[in-house]
Amino acid sequence: MKVVTGVVGNDIHVVANRLMELSLNARGYEVFNLGVNTHLEEFFDAVVETGANILLISSLNGEAEGWSREVKALKSKYKNLDDLIMMIGGNLAVGRGDAEEIERKYKNYGFDLVCHQIDLNTGLDWLEEFIEKRKTQ
């Protein structure tokens, strides 16, 4: 499976992003890592160019919400992205936040999997479960 990943916005926190690439590779995905400081259009462009099945966005510095509000509108401009698995994780609010409330919000923005302050590997386990479930449907 092909995954596009990166850190959204003006965020330069790169550590989780590097670990993400390592973990995805270790789990056998074909990874296209756009790195930090990546804007939303760049993510969707890369998904289209590579024919990726999964878009996996990180955000650490609290910027995510600002960007996520534009996801649906932007995604609808691209064709054939209906099957794309959309996932986001990291620190999805400024300061502390209620995890359930955050998950609900981001699902509304169009994400299938929301991992607020969830460990990388736990998140990737969820992704695999999600893919399994989809296959059997």
Binding site: V15, L19, S23
Partner: protein
């Protein structure tokens, strides 16, 4: 009119800058209270200076923050700049400042110094009459530094390498070197009027598994680039690394070599200081634990013999700290410094020798670069991976050096990439580690090593 002065005029002809009265600023600096100069405090203090972090959008908020700090017995006040100003986007900063002033909500993550202007800001700085340190992260900081000094801020953090490799993905490095050359010269010129303006490098870099040899090399190079331009007071710095012994060794070697290289270029008259940052990597979510970590950092800073410590707060892992949490750290740190006594004298000759050899080998490779000026040599050395910063997000950085922690949590180099670590040192470093694991095992170790304080 000198070339520098011409450049100054251009920079300052900016719609967001009030008429800049150079003569008045010169007079102000010439007569400014010695207490505003951290260089003066370094010279007379017999204790480690304590400096928190912090910046808020409005004048009033910043003023209140300073009041909190002064109450908790701060030695050095911080002025952290917002990220729009850092990217020279004064227009957005202006808009957000207005919104922050009109509403109860902060629309900026720091103090927009250029928009507030030096006339206003100087009132606050002189009111508290404490040294202020400028924390920014700006590649083109020319206007910002002119405004800072005119405001009475006589310590400037940063540098062309340390404010770029950890903070940017693709800002052109050569431009950064030239903009910072300007900053050094302005600092050097003002230093002639009163006590010297202090420049400080940002040693923590990415705060993630950076080996001491790389940290020290970058500290020394930014120091040399500043001294070359006439800066007379400079602070090298590094942050807690995870092993008490490695920190003590790093402190000993950086002090020794900073003196050595300063003298090599005929700048032995400059005052060199050592700054220690409390743990800069991933913090524990548990705030009580965060406080333990912070206290331990203070103890280690004392063992290292730092001249200044820069603090974190119990809220680091969750979000921007409240003024209260920030002030608490200052009071706690001052208390700890006060009661910590009878520091042992610690020397680890073998580790010091290995580290010294590594630093000298990299420095030599940089000096041997065929370019004509030091900044071009450094630029080339970063470009060709002779200097390689683990976990830098910048595209110019090689990212080929691989480091892990040994059993004592020392950061060790297990893959040199293109960095000229001498064979003897490289073998020593690898010999400390368990390398029997496969790649997956090593990756798991790295993940674990990043989270050691959690």
């Amino acid at each position: 009119m000198s070339l520098l002065q011409e450049e100054r005029e251009i920079i300052l002809s900016n719609e967001y800058v009030d008429n800049f009265d150079f003569d008045e600023v010169e007079e102000f600096v010439r007569n400014a209270s010695k207490d505003l100069f951290i260089s003066h405090h370094f010279a007379k203090a017999d204790k480690m200076l304590v400096q928190p972090r912090g910046g808020f959008p409005t004048y009033k908020q910043q003023f209140d923050l300073y009041e909190f700090f002064v109450e908790s017995n701060v030695d050095v006040l911080p002025l952290t700049i917002d990220s729009n100003t850092r990217l020279n986007d004064y227009g957005t900063a202006k808009k957000m400042l207005r919104l922050s002033e009109e509403n109860e909500i902060d629309m900026l993550n720091g103090y927009p110094l250029v928009n507030h202007g030096y006339r206003t800001t100087r009132k606050m700085i002189t009111n508290f009459n404490k040294p202020v340190s400028l924390r920014h992260g700006t590649p083109d900081a020319r206007l910002l530094i002119e405004t800072a000094i005119a405001s009475g801020i006589f310590e400037i953090e940063g540098g062309p390498i340390t404010y770029l490799l950890p903070y940017s993905k693709n800002f052109p490095l050569d431009k950064a070197f030239l903009y910072w050359k300007y900053v050094e010269r302005v600092c050097a010129n003002y230093s002639e009027l009163n006590e010297p303006i202090n420049r400080e490098s940002f040693g923590p870099l990415t705060a993630t598994l950076v080996p001491p040899s790389i940290t020290i090399v970058i500290q020394l190079l930014e120091m040399l680039l500043a001294l070359e331009e006439g800066v007379k007071s400079f602070s090298v710095s590094f942050s807690q690394q995870g092993s008490m012994n490695q920190d003590i060794v790093t402190g000993a070697v950086i002090k020794k070599l900073a003196r050595f290289y300063a003298e090599e270029i005929g700048c032995g008259d400059a005052a060199i200081h050592l700054v220690y940052h409390q743990w800069m990597g991933a913090f524990p979510m548990n705030k009580d634990f965060a406080e333990q970590l912070i206290n331990m950092s203070t103890v280690i800073a004392s063992m290292v013999g730092a001249d200044k410590i820069i603090t974190k707060t119990r809220e680091e892992a969750t979000g921007i700290p409240t003024p209260q949490a920030n002030a608490k750290t200052v009071a706690d740190t001052q208390y700890t410094l006060r009661i910590l006594n009878g520091l042992p004298n610690i020397v680890d000759e073998e580790e010091e020798e290995i580290l010294t050899l590594e630093v000298k080998a990299i420095m030599e490779a940089v000096f041997n670069d065929p370019a004509d000026t030091l900044w071009r040599k450094v630029f080339n050395s970063i470009k060709n991976g002779v200097i390689d910063v683990p976990f830098s997000p910048h595209i110019i950085n090689h990212n080929n050096m691989i480091t892990i922690r040994d059993a004592n949590k020392n950061i060790r180099i297990i893959d040199r990439g293109n960095v000229p670590i001498p064979d003897r040192c490289f073998e020593y470093e690898r010999a400390q580690c368990d390398l029997s694991k496969d790649t997956k095992g090593i990756v798991n170790d790295i993940i674990h090593d990043i989270g050691i304080m959690q």
